[in-house]
């Protein structure tokens, strides 16, 4: 048994055989100039095209065979010396054929000669042909017949400048002819959908799409007619084509033809007829993929705009943007069940269009976004991931175009669009925005913009209701928050006042970020504020007293508040560091009480919040380090603080830590500055105390483990001795150093001491240093001379 395709092959083969058979006799008749026989056999040959059994694809093969034969017949007809019949008579003669299909093929063939002979005006013959072809109502046969008509008439249209151009207005005749043929072909094409056996819709659509170019060819021909100028296109061609497109109510045809119109006619025509063209869009079937059609149109127009700057005024003149925008609105309104992704895709296209055509018109961009917001707000929740992608594309487009987030920030609808993203996408988009800022190194310099920006990225700034926080990967979260922190550094204005506003805004936003975010953002914020402080100092002369809110005091208050927020986290270590930073800044500003206050806060934290011994070690060293650099304090305050610091140092848990903290404290009494405090006695006290602790540590180690403790502690203390010795602390004597070295040597040689290569090396290089200083000579050399190694 044969299946469908094999059957078709068989029928096709039979058809071809039939054509060849009759063509053979036709050729014989042609060779012997026998018109009668030629007509008979050509009609029989063409009868093979009457088959209904072939798919369009196969029918086309058959048609092409017949087409080739008709060309030979045409040559014969043309030469009336061969058959002796005038073309007028011939035109009648072929109409005697009983079957319509062969009759009309022959009529078209003779008709083409008739036009060429110019015995009748081209328009009359064309009109007759296109009218007579109505007799074939079978879709496939009709389409091919009319396509044959289009083919043979192409070069014979009474176009301007054509030899067939008749009296006035013949271009109109040419246009009428092509339009009519187009209309009829389209009707036939559409009808294919509804005729024939039911079911297998897909197959039928596939077959139809194989035939689409036959229909579209007519539009191509129209576009080639010289006489179709803008005026005629606007008044006649386009309205009539669109009328047909709209009225056929067939989605396949509408989609194809709209696209065809867009592709075959010149850009400037589209531009000048936008209203008409777009007016048709909402009238199309709901299933038509209007968005692709419009996208293509906009693509073409944007390319056109890009092609030359000269055409831009045209765009403005016809208000291309507002027309497109209206059209899109109407389409979306009309097609209620258009999925969100479709609508958004349209907006993306429009946005791309306006970005390319009117890059200066931000209001347009905003308008598009606004329309999109409107659409999105009608959708309860955007769940389609493709739609989401389109929204991201929509939001990314302006960023890419302007390479500058600042531009996007002026778009009031931008954040409103972002509101419609789901949480994940929202964050993604926020990251894109931040990355864009980073990449372009853009500086956001006004408070308003900062406000907008933070609204945009609020997905990163705070928890959004309903977000499943646990789901978030720790690492991603860190990256996000680091990005935010980096972003904060990009906000800068030379004008302190504005900068303060910016900081306040950032603070307002970041404070709601919750304990997980604060540690990331607070430090950025603090440093940002500190920068402002320095800025202020730089300009101090100019603004002092001018503006009450701008005093450093105010900023310090702000800083305090910011850092206090960390208590909620809690993150005492970080807070402590920040307090110290602030204290240093206060020192820079020469405001003693503020600096003191910050230290107080730092100590309070140390006392109350920092329990971990390792953290305490770090903290105390930080405190000591900072305190050492402070020069703002009066004696009393300084004493209090140093006393505190040394006190805490001595109360650290591990002896080694105690020891190190205490010798570090020695620096608090010896600041190697012009005006620095130089209290040699207390330095010595500290160092001695450190030595005592080291000794104790050593003994504890002996007792506890039976082995020697940290010799390195002694070496470290030795280094401190040497330092202060060098710096001229009179309390530190060469004999003390000498004694310490001996002590270390003794300790190292004791049995109980474990060999410690690091300590050995440390000691060795320390001794080498002393040696070096001795040999250097000069003042320093003399000083060291007394130390015996």
């Amino acid at each position: 048994m044969l299946n469908g395709t094999e059957d078709e092959e068989k029928w096709l083969a039979e058809g071809i055989a039939g054509i060849q058979h009759n063509a053979f006799y036709m050729h014989r008749a042609l060779d012997s100039n026998n018109l009668r026989e030629a007509l008979k056999y050509s009609a029989q040959m063409l009868s093979e095209l009457r088959t209904s059994k072939l798919s369009p694809h196969k029918y086309y093969e058959l048609y092409m065979r017949a087409f080739d034969e008709l060309k030979r017949l045409e040559l014969f007809f043309k030469d009336d010396s061969k058959h002796g019949v005038s073309v007028v008579d011939l035109y009648e003669l072929v109409q005697h054929a009983g079957n319509i299909l062969p009759r009309l093929y022959l009529l078209c063939t003779v008709g083409s000669i008739y036009i060429k002979s110019k015995e009748a005006p081209a328009k009359e013959v064309l009109k007759d042909l296109v009218e007579m072809c109505r007799g074939v109502q079978h879709p496939i046969r009709g389409l091919f017949l009319r396509s044959y008509l289009a083919q043979i008439s192409r070069d014979k249209l009474p176009d301007i400048g054509s030899e067939y151009e008749g009296d006035a207005d013949t271009v109109m005749d040419a246009v009428d002819f092509v339009l009519q043929n187009f209309t009829e072909m389209n009707k036939l094409w559409v009808r294919m959908q509804h005729q024939g056996p039911g079911g297998v819709r897909e197959k039928r659509e596939k077959e139809r799409s194989e035939l689409q170019d036959l229909v579209g060819k007519n539009l191509h021909v129209l576009s080639q007619i010289e006489g179709v100028d803008l005026e005629m296109y606007k008044e006649t061609v386009l309205p009539r084509v669109l009328e047909q497109v709209v009225n056929c109510k067939d989605d396949l045809a509408q989609y194809y033809l709209m696209d065809c119109i867009i592709q075959v006619f010149p850009d400037e025509y589209h531009l000048q007829t936008l209203e008409t063209l777009l007016g048709a869009c909402p009238q199309l079937q709901p299933t038509v993929d209007v968005k692709t059609v419009l996208s293509r149109l906009m693509d073409r127009l944007s390319n056109y705009a890009a092609s030359s700057a000269d055409v831009l005024p045209e765009f403005l003149q016809v208000e291309a943007f507002s027309k497109l925008s209206n059209a899109i609105g109407k389409v979306i309104e009309a097609q209620l069940d258009m999925p969100a992704v479709g609508a958004i895709t349209l907006y993306v296209s429009l946005l791309t269009f306006t970005l390319r055509v009117h890059p200066d018109r931000l209001d347009h961009v905003d308008q598009v976004l606004g329309a999109c917001v409107k659409k999105l707000s009608n959708i309860p929740k955007l769940e389609d991931s493709r739609a989401m992608k389109q929204v991201v594309a929509l939001l990314s487009a302006p960023l890419e175009k302007y390479n500058d987030i600042v531009t996007a920030l002026t778009l009031s609808n931008y954040p409103r669009v972002m509101d419609h993203l789901d949480i994940g996408t929202n964050k993604l988009m926020a990251m894109v925005i931040i990355q864009s800022i980073m990449k372009n190194n853009s500086c956001i310099s006004t408070a308003d913009k900062v406000e907008v920006l933070f609204k945009l990225i609020k997905g990163l700034i705070k928890d959004i209701d309903g977000a499943d926080v646990d789901e978030l990967e720790e690492e991603d979260f860190k990256e996000e928050q680091n990005s935010v922190a980096r972003l904060i550094h990009m906000l800068y204005n030379d004008e302190p006042e504005e900068m303060l506003k910016i900081i306040c805004i950032v603070r307002k936003h970041t404070m709601v970020g919750g304990p997980k975010r604060l540690p990331f953002t607070v430090s950025s914020l603090v440093f940002s504020a500190l920068r402002l402080l320095r800025q202020l100092q730089g300009q101090e002369g100019d603004i002092v007293g001018e503006e009450a809110s701008m005093t450093p005091n105010k900023i310090f208050q702000l800083l305090t508040q910011i850092i206090e927020s960390l208590s909620a986290v809690p993150s005492p270590e970080l807070a402590l560091r920040l307090y110290l930073q602030c204290a240093e800044a206060a020192n820079g500003c020469d405001i003693e009480h503020v600096a003191y206050e910050f230290f107080t806060q730092a100590f309070l934290l140390y006392e109350e919040e920092i329990a971990d011994s390792k953290a305490q070690v770090t903290a105390i060293h930080l405190i000591i380090g900072t305190l050492q650099r402070m020069n703002v304090f009066g004696v009393e305050n300084r004493d209090t603080l140093t006393h505190k610091a040394t006190g805490y140092s001595a109360r650290l848990l591990k002896k080694a830590d105690q020891c190190r903290a205490v010798y570090a404290c020695s620096h608090l009494f010896w600041v190697d500055d012009q005006d620095g405090i130089k209290d040699g006695e207390r330095v010595l006290l500290c160092l001695k105390r450190a030595l005592r602790i080291a000794n104790a540590a050593q003994q504890m180690a002996n007792v506890a483990r039976g082995s020697g403790g940290p010799v390195s502690l002694f070496v470290e203390i030795l280094n401190k001795y040497i330092y202060f010795f060098e710096k001229g602390n009179k309390q530190i004597t060469s004999s003390a150093i000498q004694g310490l070295i001996e002590l270390i040597n003794t300790e190292m040689q004791s049995d109980s001491t474990n060999p410690d290569s690091v300590a050995d090396a440390f000691l060795a290089s320390t001794l080498r240093y002393i040696q070096f200083q001795k040999q250097k000579g000069g003042v320093m050399g003399e000083k060291f001379e007394s130390i015996k190694l």
Binding site: Q95, G98, I100, R134, G135
Partner: protein, 300 residues
Amino acid sequence: MNFLIGAFKPACNISITFSDGKSRKQVPMKKENGKTIMVSLFQSKESIAGKVSIEPLQGKKIEHLGVKVELLGQIEMYFDRGNFYDFTSLVRELDVPGDIYERKTYPFEFSTVEMPYETYNGANLRLRYVLKVTVSRNYGGSIVEYQDFIVRNYSPPPSINNSIKMEVGIEDCLHIEFEYNKSKYHLKDVIIGKIYFLLVRIKIKNMDLEIRRRESTGSGANTHVETETLAKFELMDGAPVRGESIPIRLFLSPYELTPTYRNINNKFSVKYYLNLVLVDEEDRRYFKQQEIAIYRQQDS
């Protein structure tokens, strides 16, 4: 043997020629034996003149009781074989009884002969015009010779020639309106028209226009009707939809038509009909028949 053969041969050759035979138009005519010969064409009220020449066979004389020529218009019914009905019969005596020894020629003339009916060759009858020369004899039977000629009468274009316009249909199934540009066509005419589809609920496969000839003979209970389809012309291929209009252009010249004959001598009628036939996919036929009149127009 020669003698015997000679005995059955006609005693003379009779030939009939028309005086304007060389200039007169000749048209083909199909004879009973199927052969086509060319014969002279006349129309009513023409004078029919010519010569009859009688040539006895070599060395024979013909004794006759008189020679005459008749002009006969006959209607011959095939089902009533042999029964000629002469509707016209004119006689000219050419010679008084006597002998003919050698070739003798008689001129004759029927002037302004009324020949109201056209020569017609139908399915069941024929109408013929013939010249009959009779050489009457006492013995051996009379010698008779015939000469056919054809009569065609031309009509002026009708003063009233309305189009045929009609709406027909089957309820809720098919409604069409058709229009033929005229009701009266001459033989070389073109039928121009249109068919509008007002409602189509059946799957039409194609549509033809047929030209049918209805020949009725006899009268009353003896009426014989023969219908013949002379033309089958495809107007449309495929199924139209509502609102479609299909053009008609049918050239009549390729078909062998005659004018419409109405009640010729109370013996017969020949009428023509246009039959519009729609065929659906199940090969059901829907048709509507309309009579048209056909007339013969003088060639310009």
